[in-house]
């Protein structure tokens, strides 16, 4: 069977010594930044992008992927033990996880979350394997007009994830698309918005932008808020949950896994959305919802399984269609381009070793994470005692060195400073950075497909409505836009984000 052959190929690639080492490195780094508040996977992956220059493509993508799903594991540890979510995706875990810890069930909460995450990660990987081929085959039928519409759908769907005003998020997409056009026009060689700066003729590198928007701006905001970490750390005794806890956790983890996996595939979805929806679902179907917030096992098992399943399945649109569904995936697309690989359906046919190797490594990485997180829990907890006044300058330093090593030029370091200021302005004005980054990465491709589609149709814009695939995608996009404008949906969406902040 083809599928088994592919998997065998994947595992043979992923189990090589070099790739195992980078998977482990990625998982360790992911857990580290997951535990530490104030730095997320987006800024970390942006900092490490330059280093991946020196690595072979498969190894670098395996490492970056490890950082992403590793952060989902690490974030839950601090949520449970000190009531501080390391990542946005584990905010809900705080609600019941920390309460379980205060009731003396810290060890049980940790092991349920780790084992639930591992199970969800396994299911997520299987789903990728099953869906990758049919989706890729479908994508190969896409013409330029279809691709253009698909990107429009992806961008609009990403808006749902942005909290706050929909119209502001849409404006951020357009701003990102515009920034993406800076550089030499591919078709005519004309310089666009380069201001005679030679470094800009290749376009604005997105790594310094991501570091500025997500790294520097975040540090500045944390410094303003005077981030302090108080509150006693809870001692972990036995890691074993009771039979009763296991009995309640299993169905919750199953529901969380499938809800998270489904939401992860959607453009604009991701671990955070998955975790919130899973928690809400558990609360709704529970026989005694009063338990939630007081240490309900279901409130830990479901969102933890969901965020990990979603972290895995959000790779599907990126791997098969080349469309990133969130900011991390946008950077993964960037990492592929750095390595000279054009993301899209060709990756699977032209680079099967990379494609299947990466998928196999995700499962291996998930297994590693259980080991990294459970027996080594003490080390991670001790890291929490490092005060932020040591961390903030160190993160700044790594951003600067990372930006420099991109092309050995201090111009990129200056770019980090400029986009740090811009990111700070965005935060102060309540504008989300993620839609901007997606627009930035997709901008050049989208223009290319748009121009090609118009050339093929001899300037008739109706081509976008005449091709069935494109028409279907555009109708979906329009429906999403209408849905977001509906008062009832608006209210539900606002409520979801209020809970997130609270």
């Amino acid at each position: 069977m083809d599928l088994l052959d592919n998997l065998a190929l994947g595992f043979s690639v992923a189990l090589s010594f070099q790739n195992l080492t980078y998977a482990l490195l990625g998982c360790l780094l992911g857990t580290l930044i997951g535990v530490l508040p104030g730095i997320g996977p987006v800024a970390t992956i942006a900092m490490l992008l330059p280093i991946t220059f020196h690595l072979p493509p498969t190894a670098s993508l395996i490492m970056l992927a490890g950082i992403y799903y590793g952060a989902a594991y690490g974030g839950s540890t601090t949520s449970i033990l000190v009531n501080l979510p390391g990542e946005a995706s584990s905010v809900v875990t705080c609600l019941d996880g920390y309460q379980m810890a205060r009731n003396g069930r810290a060890g049980a909460a940790l092991s349920i979350s780790a084992v639930g995450s591992f199970f969800a990660g396994t299911v997520g990987t299987i789903i990728i394997v099953l869906f990758a081929e049919p989706l890729t085959r479908m994508a190969q039928k896409f013409g330029p007009a279809d691709y253009c519409s698909l990107m429009a759908l992806g961008l609009v769907a990403a808006v749902i994830l942005a909290s706050g005003s929909v119209i502001k998020a849409i404006a951020m997409i357009f701003l990102g698309l515009l920034f993406g056009l800076v550089g030499t026009d591919v078709n005519t060689g004309a310089q666009r918005f380069t201001f005679d700066i030679p470094e800009l003729s290749d376009g604005i590198d997105f790594a310094p932008i991501a570091m500025g928007l997500f790294g520097i701006a975040e540090i500045v905001v944390n410094l303003e808020r005077h981030l302090t970490r108080t509150g006693g750390t809870i001692k972990v005794t036995s890691l074993w949950p009771t039979m009763e806890e296991v009995r309640r956790a299993i169905p919750a983890a199953l529901r969380g896994t499938f809800l998270g996996a489904a939401l992860g595939v959607l453009p604009g979805g991701g671990p955070t959305l998955g975790a919130f929806s899973a928690y809400t679902l558990e609360k709704k179907i529970s026989k005694n919802p009063g338990q939630f917030g007081k240490g309900a096992v279901e409130g830990v098992a479901a969102p933890e399984a969901a965020n990990n399943a979603a972290a895995q399945t959000s790779f599907i649109p990126m791997l098969t269609l080349g469309i990133p569904s969130n900011a991390v995936m946008a950077l993964m697309v960037g990492a592929m381009i750095i390595q000279g690989i054009q993301p899209g359906p060709e990756v699977m046919t032209k680079k099967p070793d990379l494609f299947w190797g990466m998928i196999a490594s995700m499962w291996i990485g998930n297994a590693m994470l259980v080991i990294i997180n459970l027996p080594m829990i003490g080390i991670w907890v001790r890291l929490l005692t490092v005060p932020y006044r040591f961390l903030a300058p160190a993160i700044l330093l790594f951003c600067c060195i990372g930006a420099y090593s991109l092309q050995n030029s201090t111009f990129h370091v200056m770019q980090v400073a400029v986009f740090g200021i811009l990111g700070y302005v965005f935060v102060k004005l309540g504008c989300e950075g993620a839609p901007f980054l997606l627009g930035l990465v997709l901008g050049p491709q989208m223009e290319e497909y748009f121009r090609r589609a118009m050339l093929l149709s001899r300037g008739d814009p109706m081509v976008f409505l005449q091709r069935p695939i494109s028409l279907g995608l555009l109708i979906t996009t329009a429906l999403l836009l209408i849905l977001m404008a509906l008062p009832s949906f608006k209210k539900a969406r606002e409520k979801a984000f209020v809970e997130e902040e609270g």
């Binding site: 357009f174 515009l178 410094l223 060195i401 223009e447 300037g459």
Partner: protein
Amino acid sequence: MNRFLSKDFLSGLMFIGFGLIALYFGQKLALGTTVRMGPGYVPRMLSLTLVGLGVLICIVAVVSGSDPVERLKWKPITLVTIGIVCFALLFERAGLIPALVVLIMIASLAGEEFKLTEVIGNIVVLSVLCTLVFKVGLGMNVYVLRGVW
């Protein structure tokens, strides 16, 4: 409450501003035709849409109001930016260690607490770590201290 100093109104102005800047600097780019688009066609389309969205955001903000902008604290953003710019200026001219020392010093001043002994400790640890990782480990082509190594 001043409706014109709200988050939404000001972000609307920001989008209009970016749109107008792009229109101004993009005016020399050839538009071409819908069949054969020139380099200026898509940028023009995007900047016009951006200006339109900005105007819409402003109108909505004035009509229905929005949250006021939080008070800015100038110290962290200014010091962090100065720190990065100093790093960029010093890195090639003087080397990794001087750039690192200046960046960490300035960045540490941006926080609320500043204890000199702690900052020096941080600098020593990071200097050793960065030299080992970037110079020795990754073999980056950079001076650790110009004229010495």
